[in-house]
Symmetry: C2
């Protein structure tokens, strides 16, 4: 009983901070995307390719990347000219809103279009923690198996978008994309689905278009509000 | 502070039950193996192939398989003539010793040689929970990336054996097996490492030999004690 109470009060405090973050992001027209997936789903690599594609363009971007122990990912993500900060959780299996709050302390938010948060590699625990994001994005690699949407419904039901990733490996696996799509829609009828790969077709162009559409929509909403 | 206290008391209670389980397994000369890996690392598939290889042989085996929501895996694992029980955690991101205790209630332990416990797909949280097993086995698929031993050191440091799995996919990935081996040994100098695949070479023969050696050793220890 005590365990449940503590967990609920932790989540309540998290939600309070997340709501403040969300209000701040909305006020500044920042699109905040929370990337969640298993270890090795390809989160950091997709972010690398995304930052590379957007570098030199008009978009101002920042990245927070969560990890339990190492600072490797921030180093990988800092090479594209955008601020990138590591959040090292020291054993905790997910990011929470207070970690995001602290990590943003030295990142200038004015004029930012896009904030990527790469969560700790874990398909379970991060689903329960609101980080103030506009959308959760779940990444499922075709090397993982098509049964994951039903086995880990919590994250698939809360995600706005599923990236069906490493499509280049599809010919070498038993993964059935239609089954994965159908099961993802069973737990979340409204989920958007984009197939991606960082090594050959189909590439990331549809994902990049999806991001641009979110930024345009957010900017339009803000212009109306002003 | 309260959170830490509660977590520590939960772990202490878990360790108490795990110690009872371990004593029971040792008394009966049962080799208990706790399989831990990311979602999609290949845990259930390796167990399917292992049970198939051992079916019709002299070994008596039972399987517990943890999942958050579905009962799919027990159905997959029950086809080989050995008792298989699902532990559905209902949201919890790991198995604990009390779940194992309850799941064993209707499995006859007398004469059992081998108990497989397939943990929830998660490379983080299951590492902290002793289930009374003789050995933790961490599965790393080459589709996940070779940086995982340093990024998730807790499980790699506690595992007796690492299965470097889906080796058939190696030619299509950037995975560096030597880097993964070296990093696993950095966090755990004594870790054993076996390369496996369920789709072609190198197959599971070394893994099956490893299991047989554990059973033989456990039986010899018991014979000495009697």
């Amino acid at each position: 009983m005590e365990r449940v109470d503590v967990r609920q009060s932790v989540l309540k405090e998290n939600d309070r901070i997340a709501a403040e973050l969300r209000a701040d992001f909305e006020g500044r027209a920042i699109v905040c995307l929370n990337l969640i997936g298993s270890p090795g789903a390809g989160k950091t690599t997709v972010l690398e390719h995304t930052l590379q594609a957007l570098s030199g363009g008009p978009r101002k971007i920042a990245v927070l990347t969560g990890d339990i122990q190492t600072e490797r990912d921030a180093a990988r993500l800092a090479r594209f000219g955008f601020p990138a900060r590591q959040i090292t959780t020291g054993g905790t299996c997910h990011l929470d809103a207070s970690m995001v709050w602290r990590a943003l302390a030295d990142i200038p938010l004015d004029g930012l279009d896009l904030l990527f948060i790469e969560n700790v590699g874990n398909l379970v625990c991060p689903a329960a923690y609101d980080l103030g994001e506009e959308a959760k994005i779940v990444m499922l690699s075709v090397a993982e198996g098509d049964d994951k949407p039903l086995k880990y419904p919590s994250i698939f039901s809360r995600a706005t978008l599923m990236l069906l990733h490493k499509m280049d490996l599809l010919p070498y696996t038993r993964f059935n994309p239609e089954a994965a799509r159908a099961d993802a829609r069973r737990v979340n009828p409204g989920i958007e689905i984009i197939e991606t790969s960082c090594d050959g077709a189909p590439g990331l162009s549809r994902w990049l278009e999806w991001i641009e559409a979110r930024i345009a929509k957010r900017a339009a909403t803000r212009a109306q509000a002003l």
